[in-house]
Amino acid sequence: MSRLLRQPMIVGGGSILIAVILASALAPWIAGADPIKPAFGQRLQPPRGLGGAAAHPLGTDNLGRDILARLLYGGRISLVLAASAVALAAGAGVVVGLAAGVLGGRLDAFVMRLADVQLAFPVIMLAIAIVAVVGTSPAALVSVLALSGWVLYARTVRAAVLTIREADYVQAARTLGAGDLRVVAVHILPNTLAPILVLGSSQFATMVLLESGLSFLGLGLQPPQPSWGLMLAEGRDYLSNAWWLATVPGIAISLVVLGANLLGDGLRDLLDPRLRQ
């Protein structure tokens, strides 16, 4: 634990993420205004400090909705979607990777070819094609995001299985009569946890980017849902007279991505013995 806290990247990245998660979770208490109901009398008010009223600290958007409220409620949706997608991708990827590594043979060959095929598509193109077919419900979005992410885990876990399988202690366990399942559960899985944690943390950043990118293009969450990507897209039309509309959600996305990237890098440095000094 103390080693964890001596890593500036882990502490910095972790603090950013925790702050954003807390702020989003406490949205109803922090934001006084409704994130969805329009108030046409208060359209495009600037943030406080730039001539705006105290009631709307970050100003209002083109429909008079409080930007802070939309930001915080939008954070809830984006973070939950991204976290679910990472969990689903990691779960599926680990199972597939373990199966491919342990069982080998045709299954292994098939899974690895499938991974190659999927990696040949730019993630966002594949995502928008699938979204166009299955729709933009939150469940569909999570599935599309997870689908784009399982390959990383599957490849990592499979590689780990192939290396660890030959280790002396695994051979010893086998000699003592341990079956496939026991070897996987007791000896292999715990050894793959570190890389999975690192991947998951960095991938959270990718998922937030992908989800907000899809929403930005109009292929993710649909209005009037508060979503960071959607807010950015809406703000694009008001660049010349209300620049804060597009600026604020962009800062939020960048902060989360930065936090998750820092955390991922820090964890990698910490958990990879080759990089440890």
């Binding site: 070819r113 499938l114 190659d116 095929v117 999927q118 990696l119 040949a120 598509f121 730019p122 993630v123 966002i124 193109m125 594949l126 928008i128 094609a129 699938i130 166009a132 077919v133 299955v134 950043a205 980017l209 907000s212 990118g213 930005f216 293009l217 109009g218 292929l219 990507g229 950015l232 703000g235 694009r236 660049l239 010349s240 620049w243 597009a246 600026t247 959600p249 962009g250 996305i253 960048s254 991505v257 930065l258 990237n261 820092l262």
Partner: protein, 306 residues
């Protein structure tokens, strides 16, 4: 070497067949009645039935796939109903704009990314190193759709130096290329730095310095050359990032390339065009990465004879 080349070509071919199967499954099998998907909304029942028969959709699935694959190989990707001409032609017309943008972004990535990486590695721990790292972390964290909008706000709306959209001369190319290049540049800078640092600690570098070679020669000739393999690999994989990033960048800057086309096509439910772009971009990715792998054999004799 022969075996290596053959193996890679074979793998790429298998991947491409997989690509066609995946596109077939996504656009033809999942949606229920593909003929309804392939026709504009509100098409008469008789047209749906006619197309069903024309596409062989009353046949078993593997026969349907055979028909699909045969027409794709012939270059027949169906008719775009948004443009009322062959989908392949519609897409190919947009390819040069995307390639132009991707090449500019790639050039920026290599020039800026490698330079930052070299300076950061050679002056490890200095202010340059620190600034380079901050830039790289930022480059990987700023979403490109936001970066694009902010660049537009600063250089287009506020300073009025550069055009914010469309396709008029080299000035139009600046903002989209920078937007598209930001992420891969950051990645390349970090990778160059870390591989150079590892290489600069090697014995042969010390030998080079000991025998009196100047620092530029040591770094550029001896160290950088050995860092090219990981760099090339990453650059090859970044083709995917560029093609994907083009979807968003082109949409922001109204750049008339493949990326904007695919988004427009999705909204028009122009599935023949979507299908063409998916297959074309995956093919570009696979072929370029095959070429990169073949290039290794030229650069690194260990792969050639290994």
């Amino acid at each position: 070497m022969h075996a290596y080349v053959l193996r890679r070509v074979w793998q790429s071919a298998v991947t491409l067949v997989g690509v066609s199967i995946l596109v077939f499954v996504i656009l033809r099998v999942i949606p229920g009645d593909p003929a309804k998907m392939l026709l504009p909304e509100g098409a008469p029942e008789s047209a749906v039935e006619a197309l069903n028969r024309h596409l062989g959709l009353r046949e078993p699935l593997w026969v349907q796939y055979g028909i699909f694959l045969r027409s794709v190989v012939r270059g027949d990707f169906g008719q775009s109903f948004q443009y009322r001409s062959p989908a392949l032609r519609v897409v190919v017309e947009r390819v040069p704009a995307t390639i132009q943008l991707a090449l500019c972004a790639m050039a920026l990535t290599v020039l800026v990314g490698v330079s930052i990486g070299i300076v950061a590695a050679v002056r490890q721990g200095s202010a340059y190193d620190y600034a380079g790292t901050v830039l790289a972390v930022l480059g990987q964290s700023l979403p490109n759709f936001w970066l694009g909008i902010m660049l537009m706000l600063l250089f287009g709306v506020t300073l009025r130096w550069l055009p914010t959209s469309g396709f008029h001369g080299w000035q139009s190319l600046v903002l989209p290329s920078v937007t598209l290049a930001a992420f891969p540049t950051a990645l390349v800078a970090r990778l160059t730095r870390s591989s150079l640092l590892e290489i600069l600690g090697q014995e042969y570098i010390r030998t080079g310095r000991a025998k009196g070679l100047g620092e530029p020669r040591v770094v550029l000739r001896h160290a950088l050359k050995n860092a090219t393999i990981p760099l090339l690999t990453v650059l090859g994989l970044q083709i995917g990032t560029l093609l994907g990033g083009a979807v968003i960048t082109e949409s922001i800057f109204a750049w008339p390339g493949m990326g904007k086309l695919v988004v427009d096509a999705i909204f028009f439910r122009d599935f023949p065009v979507v299908q063409t772009i998916l297959i074309l971009s995956a093919t570009i990715f696979v072929v370029i990465n095959l070429l990169v792998d073949l290039l290794y054999t030229v650069i690194d004799p260990r792969i050639r004879y290994g």
